[in-house]
């Protein structure tokens, strides 16, 4: 059975256990609605949920773009210029020492209730894994490649070596950072929405919670999960296409090859 099939079986099992628990325990629907009730609510509100999912999705994508862009530029500046190394490295570490969630109220205060504060929030969360992973990759270029480049250029073209050797060699590292970023980006967007917003899935959840519409809250949660998975897998797919030379090996692959 392939990964998709196994994931489906696991989810179906959890949903079945959930439905059985709701039937057997007779728990009040406003505490825990059954999966069937959630599914019905989801279909009844599909337009409403899609509208807000589009906003959260846009925040995630813009946050990913912004966080990745700033992260990549930071890593390149740090590797290329000694002063940037001295001034940016501490900033990079400090940016992670302050819990980003604690900044959410401030961001909403400064940037307003609109998308800007959520995009910034997501970008802040993504920035650190992208910048550090790319920087690590840039630092660990195969020394023998650099020696070869040295004999070819006489050491006179450091930026050509950066562009043609260091950066491509660091792409697998950047990809690891981006995968982490894609996985945590939805958290940033939703936390931003919780603190203060008039739209987005985080807003829908908070609003539904306040009105005891627990089934709608679960429907929004399910939509968010689908959005987060779609983000992660599209980024992962894109990265594999971009870095076809990267050979992946996992020790467990050899043991479980008989399936």
């Amino acid at each position: 059975m392939n990964a998709l099939g196994r994931g489906f079986v696991t989810i179906a099992g959890v949903v079945a256990a959930w439905q059985i628990f709701v039937w057997v325990s007779g728990v009040a629907p406003f505490m825990l609605p059954g999966p069937w009730a959630v599914a019905t609510t989801w279909f009844d509100n599909i337009g409403y949920l899609t509208e807000h999912a589009a906003i959260t999705g846009a925040e995630i994508l813009l946050g990913l773009g912004l966080g990745t862009g700033v992260g990549v530029i930071s890593a390149l500046a740090i590797i290329s210029f000694a002063p940037a190394r001295r001034w940016l490295m501490p900033a990079l570490v400090v940016s992670q020492a302050v819990p980003v969630f604690a900044l959410a109220p401030l961001l909403v205060l400064w940037l307003g209730y609109g998308m800007a504060s959520k995009v910034t929030m997501a970008a802040l969360i993504i920035y650190f894994p992208v910048a550090t992973a790319f920087l690590d990759g840039l630092r660990r270029t195969e020394p023998d490649w650099l020696d070869l480049a040295q004999t070819m250029t006489g050491g006179r073209r450091p930026f050509a070596v950066l562009w043609h050797i260091r950066i491509p060699a660091a792409l697998p590292g950047l990809a690891s950072g981006l995968r982490v970023g894609a996985a945590v980006a939805p958290i940033g967007a939703v936390v931003g929405e919780w603190v203060g917003s008039g739209a987005g899935l985080g807003y829908v959840m908070l609003h539904a919670n306040g009105r005891m519409q627990t089934d709608l809250m679960f429907a929004a949660l399910a939509t968010l999960a689908v959005l987060a998975l779609a983000t992660y897998f599209s980024v992962d797919w894109g990265l594999r296409r971009l870095i076809p030379w990267q050979i992946e090996t996992a020790p467990s692959d050899r043991q479980s090859s008989g399936e």
Partner: protein, 255 residues
């Protein structure tokens, strides 16, 4: 596959360039590797330097290539100018960039220098190393021997008067190694080649001048200067005799 008479890569190289190392000093962590080291290679000669592992063979080539900043001493070309920019380097590892196809790897030097890519000449060189049908394969789609042949084409593409080779064929199987030795000797004709190796047979087949590097700090022996040039035939009695002499020099007891 190979016709040395129709060899467009063997255009006259800047009339050969000798290499002279003198007063070479190098120490790693207080242990001297070289002290007052000297080496002299005639223009257009093929020099082989034999030695056991760890004696400093690779350090020697890296010194000549200008890759060891702590090295003290002088390395000059026979025209009195520094060697920088006039050497090509080939390592025992192919050092192909995994994201570039074979042909692009051959042209990587021009790419790094911002020069126009001469893809026609690169394709000719790929044909000379017998890989004209593998131009766009990524390195991980090629066998070890093929990758090393691409590395040889890349070295030739640089078209430098001095070529430094660090055990270039030690990582390939015996049959491929013999083919690569013949190929290199033909295609590098006219270049001043300094090759370090631990294989006495390789030195016996290829060297016009064969030194043994030994001791600590390491020094060169007077060297052997067999007649003619490589690639010598394996059955050639000169090769057999050289091989035995070299084994004795390396400390192998022969009957």
């Amino acid at each position: 596959m190979l016709d040395p008479t129709a060899n467009p890569s063997a255009r006259p190289r800047a009339s050969g360039l000798g290499v002279r190392v003198s007063g070479g000093q190098l120490a790693f962590g207080g242990t001297p590797v070289f002290a007052d080291f000297a080496l002299d290679c005639a223009p257009g000669s093929f020099t082989c330097i034999l030695g056991s592992s760890g004696v400093g063979k690779s350090s020697l080539l890296r010194m000549i290539a200008g890759l060891v900043p702590i090295f003290q001493g002088t390395v000059v070309a026979s025209d009195g100018k520094p060697l920088s920019g006039r050497i090509a380097y080939m390592d025992q590892r192919d050092l192909l960039l995994p994201w570039l196809g074979a042909l692009d790897n051959v042209m990587v030097g021009a790419r790094l220098r911002g020069q126009p890519h001469d893809s026609e000449r690169a394709a000719v060189l790929m044909a000379q190393v017998g890989l004209s049908d593998q131009l766009h394969k990524l390195p991980n789609q090629l066998s070890g021997g093929m990758r090393q042949r691409v590395a040889l084409a890349r070295t030739l593409m640089e078209d430098r008067p001095v070529v430094l080779m660090d055990e270039p064929f030690s990582a390939v199987d015996a049959l491929t190694r013999m083919k690569l030795q013949e190929l290199s000797a033909r295609l590098l004709a006219g270049c001043t080649v300094i090759m370090v190796t631990h294989d006495p047979m390789e030195a016996a087949r290829l060297g016009q001048c064969i030194h043994v590097l030994s001791g600590s700090p390491a020094t060169l022996d007077d060297g052997l200067y067999p007649a003619g040039s490589g690639p010598r035939d394996l059955a050639d009695p000169v090769v057999t005799k050289l091989h035995q002499t070299l084994l004795r020099k390396l400390g192998v007891a022969l009957p």
